[in-house]
Amino acid sequence: MDGATRDTVLFFVRLPRVGAAMLVGAALAAAGAAYQGLFRNPLVSPDILGVSAGAGLGAVLGIFLSLPVLGIQLLAFVVGLGTVGLVLLIASSVRGREPVLVLVLAGVVVGALAGSAVSLLKVLADPYDQLPAITFWLLGSLAAVKLEDLATTLPVTVLGLIPLVLLRWRINVLSLGDEEAKALGIEAGRLRVVVVAAATLMTASVVSIAGIIGWVGLIMPHMARMVVGPNFDRLLPAAMILGAGYLLVVDTMARSMAVVETPLGILTAFVGAPVFLWLLARGRYGWT
């Protein structure tokens, strides 16, 4: 391999991919940490609230309509936000039951609905051109990420991160529940909307380049909480560093484990699901 080829591989293939892995991991972990604090529930994550599925539906719709990357991102964000809104609406209208259970079930149901809409689009998609792109993308992969994708996604992700960083103390207070947060001087409803929108923007922007990569947003905040405790001030950076490092390692495995590249979403589930079971089995539900 001559020097020019080596440079091309390094700067236009490997580095964007390394950057994308870290960006996606950090963003999903940050969004997961925010959702968990916000809904006072260590079980929620972008996957369980249906955000990933909703953003996935938006992105698939974007691919189906042959939109540019920015259009796909926008559609992913709008449908993702709509999905969270729908989940919250269902959860708040089914009162008087176990609220956490209702929230999780609503997320599962709405996620399934988004999933069947995706299936419908797959049936309708052009089987030679669009269908393979949609299928591979749904499995989650960074193989196709180009430098330009990274350049459009990074600012959007940072835009979502800024409110989380600025409001990091108030997110702690909000995790005590709406009533206590209000009594402590916070406009809980307004703050919740801002934080949900910010976390959803982060999720949607990375889903639009990497596809649906599950478990990172659920597991990484748990791991971070074990290391630095629940204070969002320290939890946010810790979760992002862990998420970035984790996805970089898993993506490297996905790329080099076998002759054929393994989709990333499959690997994160293979690693994430057992880890989550282990957290459950520790008996404290991973609250630590």
Partner: protein, 258 residues
Amino acid sequence: MRLEAQGLGFGYPGKPVGRDVSLALGAGEVLCLLGPNGSGKTTLFKTLLGLLPAQAGEVLIDARPLRRLARVEVATRIAYVPQTHTAHFPYTVRDMVTMGRTAHLGPFARPGARDHAAALEALETLGIADLADADYTRVSGGQRQLALIARALAQAAPLIVMDEPTASLDFGNQALVLREIRALAAQGYGIVLSTHDPDHAFACASAVALLHGGRLVATGAPSDVLSPARLEAVYGLPVAVERLPGGHTVCVPDLSVP
């Protein structure tokens, strides 16, 4: 600083809990709310704090309607000590108490040296400074209650609303909390608390409000309001009110089977 409720109707949307409640609380006073389970104490408190909208009448803070105040304005005037709960995340006791400082911080600020000092001072006042770095989720129910009271002190609001502050405490900690309530009133705090034990009203209250079925049965000085006849009417069994030689008053229910 004066908290007033005028002809207050309270409850949840479509489910009224109580009405016609008028109360007043000034600096240095302790108002004790007594009433059986389900009499509407917690709902009334949430309405006094503006967490539930009043269904009738008005809550006034220094003659200003509560509903016109922003949350941060309410929080610098009234602090809330909720019934002991289990937190969902293991914040340290110190973090939990420091959250009381939120109303004094800008929207994007995090607590600074002054806030940490205020939190530590509140912990010391309640005698739990040694628990500062323990997980709030792992200390006992009584210690959690003391931490929540410390949080209210860190909030530095002149009025404090306490929802059954002695409910989960052992005998000694109940006495500790009652003593603390008296000390805070002596410093000029106005305190509203609810309790299930009429003895506590005698021990620390300057006024008692007896709530039954969402209506005020009587308000006034403990010795005027808490007569054997009224206690029997509200709690449904004969109660003797005895004055002890030391000056304390105790209420003793008749436990004989009819």
